[in-house]
Symmetry: D2
Subunit: 307 residues, 4 copies
C-alpha cells in the first residue's frame, strides 16, 4: 500500500478543519500553541517511516504518557496492579470525582487522571523515590523511541502544578480511601513531570511498535513486556483511551489509541505499524479534532481497522 500517498491525501482533506477545535487553555504554556499545525507519522516493523507535516515539531505528550507509565507498572505488578486500578471504561469525564467516590477510591482504569496518578504512585513505591520513578519512565520512553534527547518541559510541569487543584483533589480522595501510598503533592508533581515530556510524531509512532508487535520491539528485538500484557494494554487503549469519547473513537477509527490534551494521538495497527498524529485543536471531549479525523480517514482509506 502506498502509505505516503495516503498521508498526502489525508493532509489535504483535513486542511478545512484546522481552524476548528480549541487549544487547551488551562495553562499558558499550552494555550500559546498555534493550532494550525498538523503532523502525522507511521513507522513500520522494518523501520520504514512515512511522514507528513510538522513531524519534527516537539509537543507536550500529556496523557499519552499514561500508556508508558501503565506499561511499566503492569510489568512490575502484573495482575496485582488491578487491586488498585480497574480496567473498565468510566462513562464519565476524565477528571470526575463522582465515580471515584462511589467506587471507594479505586479508579476505573489507568487512563483517566485518577488512574494515571495511581500508577505513578505505584511506581514511586516500587522505586522508593519519586525522581527515580520518573527517570525510569523517561528511560523507557527513550528506549522504545530510540531517541535519547527526550526531556520534560519544566515550565509546563510547574504551570500544571499551579493549576492542578482538580488532580490534587483526586489524589487526596484516593489517599482518604487508603489507595495512595505516597504524599499527594509528590505524586501529583511526578505525574505532571511525566505529562510534560515533549516528543514529536516521529518518535511517538516509533514508540508504539512494541505494542503493535506483542511486546517485542521489532527493530531491536528487545522484549519489553509479555505478549498477553501487550494485547491487554491495547485492549485498555481501545476501550478507555479517549476519555468519554472512547466508544466513538473505536467506532470511527477502530484502532487501539491514546490521546493527550497537547493534541497528540498515538495508535497502532497490530502486527503492522505504529502511528502518531498531532494537531493542537481539541474537540469537545478533549481529543485532537483533526487528529481523530485523520485517523478515521486513515482506516477508511487503508481498511486497517481491527474490526
Amino acid at each position: 500500500m502506498n502509505y505516503q500517498l495516503i498521508l498526502d491525501e489525508i493532509s489535504q482533506e483535513i486542511q478545512p478543519l484546522l481552524h476548528e477545535g480549541k487549544v487547551a487553555d488551562y495553562i499558558p504554556a499550552l494555550a500559546d500553541v498555534n493550532k494550525n499545525q498538523f503532523a502525522m507519522s507511521i513507522t513500520l516493523f522494518d523501520g520504514t517511516t512515512h511522514n507528513i507535516g510538522s513531524t519534527n515539531e516537539l509537543f507536550s505528550i500529556q496523557s499519552i504518557s499514561k500508556v508508558f507509565s501503565f506499561t511499566k507498572a503492569l510489568k512490575i505488578y502484573r495482575i496485582s496492579l488491578y487491586n488498585r486500578i480497574g480496567k473498565e471504561p468510566s462513562g464519565n469525564p476524565f477528571n470526575s470525582l463522582v465515580q471515584l467516590e462511589y467506587e471507594h477510591g479505586i479508579p476505573r482504569n489507568p487512563f483517566i487522571n485518577a488512574g494515571a496518578i495511581n500508577v505513578t504512585d505505584s511506581l514511586i513505591s516500587h522505586y522508593k523515590d519519586a525522581s527515580m520513578a520518573y527517570e525510569e519512565v523517561l528511560s523507557f520512553i527513550k528506549a522504545i523511541s530510540e531517541e535519547s534527547s527526550i526531556y520534560s518541559n519544566e515550565i509546563v510541569a510547574n504551570s500544571e502544578m499551579l493549576n492542578g487543584y482538580r488532580n490534587m483533589a483526586l489524589a487526596n480522595l484516593m489517599k482518604s480511601f487508603n489507595n495512595l501510598d505516597n504524599e499527594t503533592k509528590e505524586v501529583v508533581q511526578t505525574y505532571f513531570k511525566q505529562c510534560a515530556i515533549e516528543m514529536n510524531t516521529k518518535m511517538l509512532s516509533r514508540s508504539m511498535l512494541y505494542l503493535a508487535n506483542r511486546g517485542v520491539d521489532p527493530i531491536t528485538n528487545i522484549r519489553y513486556i509479555s505478549e498477553p500484557q501487550a494485547k491487554r494494554i491495547n485492549a485498555v487503549m481501545l476501550t478507555c483511551g479517549h476519555y468519554d469519547a472512547s466508544g466513538d473513537f473505536a467506532y470511527k477509527v477502530g484502532l487501539p489509541g491514546k490521546s493527550g490534551v497537547g493534541g497528540g494521538i498515538v495508535a497502532l495497527v497490530p502486527n503492522l505499524m505504529g502511528i502518531c498524529v498531532w494537531s493542537p485543536g481539541l474537540n469537545e471531549q478533549g481529543n485532537s479534532l483533526v487528529g481523530t479525523k485523520a485517523l478515521e480517514l486513515f482506516t477508511t482509506k487503508t481498511g486497517l481497522s481491527i474490526f
Copy 2:
C-alpha cells in the same frame, strides 16, 4: 489450526467451574435451567463448524438479540440513529436509570437495556406496527442463521413482562424526555418478545458470519449491511457488549462479543469465524462465567485476539 482439539481442551478445562456462577433467577423460566451445561460452536466462512457440548440445546438469547435489532435499526436509520442513542460505554450497570436521567433520556449505547428498548421503539416507528417490527427482527435472525424454525418463547416473554418494572421505568423515563415514539408498554413487550427468542450455539455462531465478514454473509454472499456498518457494530460490541464488564472482556478475550443473561455469548474473529458459547451460570456482572472463561482460553490457545 485444529479447532476441534482446542474446543475439546476448553471443554475439559472449564469443567471445575461449572458449579460456580449463578443462574439468572428473576423469572422462573430462566431460574429452572440446569447450570451444569456447556456448549461451544464455531462456524468458519466455508460453513465448516466445530462443536462441543450441548450444541443442540436451545436457550433464551436475551441480550444477544440486541445485536440483531441494532443491525436492523442501523441499516434503516444510518447515523441519524445516534440522535437518539449514543455509542459510548456506560460505566454503569446495564439497567441503571442514573445516567439516563443525567443525560436527558439519551441512552449511552444500544446494548444497555434503555438503548435496546429505544432501538425497538425506532423499529416499531419504522414498520408502523409492533408485531411487524418483531417479525422483521425474527426474519433477519432466521436469514443470518439459515434456520427457519426459530421462535420466541411466549412463557418467558410474559414472565419478563410481569417482572419488568425496571425496564418499564427506563421506557417511561425516556418517554418523559420525548425520546420514545410509541407507547411504553407496547415497546417493552416487543423488546421482551425479542429477548425471549431461543437458539442454540450452532445457530448463533452461524449468525455472526455477516459481522465477521464486513457485512456480507460469506456462505450465501448476501450483503446485509455495509462494510463500515459491520465494523462499527463490532466496535460497539467490543466497547459495550458486556455491560459493566466490557473492559474486562476486551482485556481477557480481545474479541467483539455480546452476552445475554440466558448464559449465551456470541463473538467473532474478523475475517475468520463466528463463535458462540453457552453455559447458564452467571458471574457477578451478569455474563456467563464459564462462557467468558471458555472464550479467554480460546483466544489464548489460538492467538486469535484482535489485539
Copy 3:
C-alpha cells in the same frame, strides 16, 4: 396584631412581582391559568379569617395534597410508614430518579413525587381499593376545611396522566425494588386524581388548623392525629416542603409549609393560625414566586417565624 392591614400591605408590595414567574406549562389545564392573580388567607383558632385578593378562586392544589395523604397514612401506619418512606430532605429535584435508585427504591420523604406516590400506594393497600383510598383522602380534606363541595378536576387528572411518564418511571422503579404494592398505573392515576383537587385559599388556610393546633381542630375540637404526629408532619414540611428550595423557604419564611405547582402554598404558625397564599407564577424551583415573597413579608412584618 392588625392582620388585615398586614395583608393589605403585602398585597401592594407584591404587585410588581406578579408579571415575573412562569406558570406551570407541562399540561394545558395549568398552562392556561392567568398568572396575574394573587390571594392570601389566614384563619385563626377562633375561626376569624382575614383575606386579600381572589380568595374565592379555586385552583389545583397539586402537591399540597401530599400533606393530607401523608397525614392519613401516618395515622394508619404510624412509624411503620418509615419502612417504605424516609423523612430526610432530598437535595435533588422533586422528580429525580437518581437518589431513588441509589437508595434502593425508598423515597427520601413523603413530599417528593416518589414519596407521595408511595403514600398513595399505602392507602390503596389499606383501603383495599383505589377509589376508596381517594375518597378517604377527599373526605378528610372536606372535614378539615369544613367545606363539602370540594372535588377533583377530571380534565386536569387525565391530562396529568397523559404526560405523567416521569411519575410512571418513579412508580415502576419503586415497584422493581418491591416497594410498591399495587399496580403502577392505578397508583399513579389515584395520585393524579388527588393532585387535581381544587380549593381556594380560604379553604386551605382553614385546613391547616389541625396541624397548627397539635392534631386537634380548634374550631370543631375533633382530634385528627396525635400531638407528636402533628409536630412531626410540621417538621417534615419545614425540612422537605418546598423541594430543592426547602432550606431557602425555612431561611426566608421560617414556617412549616408546603407548595404546589398550581401556585398555592399552605403554611402555619404553631398555636396560632393557618395560612394559604396563591399566585400561579412559579420560580425556578417550581414554587409560587409571589407566594414565597408574600410569606416572607408576612413573617418579617409579624415576627411570627418559628425561629
Copy 4:
C-alpha cells in the same frame, strides 16, 4: 417547669443506651475518649443553669464550631456569602464530593464540611491572615460563652491534618472551581484548628443564648448579629445541622441544633434557653446517639418543640 427534675429523669432514662454508639475513631485523640460519659446543660435568659452529668468535662467541639464561624462570616458578608455557599440540605453524607462536583464547587450549605471550609476561607480573606481569622472566631466563642480560658487542642488539630485527605480533596475541588481564595492547606489547617476547640456543656449551652434571643445576648445585652440573621442561622441549623439525619432530628427533637463528631450537640429553644448535651458514642449518621435521644426526651417532656 422543673428543668432540673427533667434533666435527672433524662439522665436515668439514657443510661441503658450509654454502651451503644461508636466513638469517632478516625484520629487517636478522639478514639481514646471513654464513651460511657454523659452531660447536659441548659442556660436560661436570666443566667440560671441546670446541669446533669460531667458538665465540667471538656470535649472537642468539632462541627459545632461551624455555627460560630458561619455567624462571623454572615455578619461580615451578609447575603453576598451565598454567592459561594448555599443554604439547602444536601441529602448526602457530610463529606461527599459528588454533589460538590455536580454543583460546580458551590457547597450546599455552611454545615457540611465543604461549606465550613469555604466559610473559613472567607474569614481568612477578610482578615487577610489565617491566624487572625482563627483568633477572631475564638474571641467570638469566648465572648458568647463568657469564658476566657477556651483553647484549641493542638494534638487533635495536627492529628486531623495528618488524616484530613478527604477535606483536602474538598478544598482542592473548590479551588479548581475558583471557589476558594487562599491556599488549600492553610485553609484546611485553620479549619481543623477551629474544630479542635474544647469546651464543656456549660459553656456551650451558654453560647447559644444569642441565637435563642434574636441576635442579642440576653445576659450582657450585646447584639452580635441582627434579628433576621439570628433567625436564619437557626433555620439553617434546623434544616442542615445534622448531616444526613437533619430531617430525623427536626422530626424527633424539633429544635434548631448542631452536632459534632466529638459527641456534643448544641440546641436552643427560641426566646427561652440554650442547650448542650454531650455523650461521645455516635450513631450511624455520626451524631451523638445518647445526645440525640436526650434531646428527644427533653422536648417530649417539656413540650418545647418549635412545632
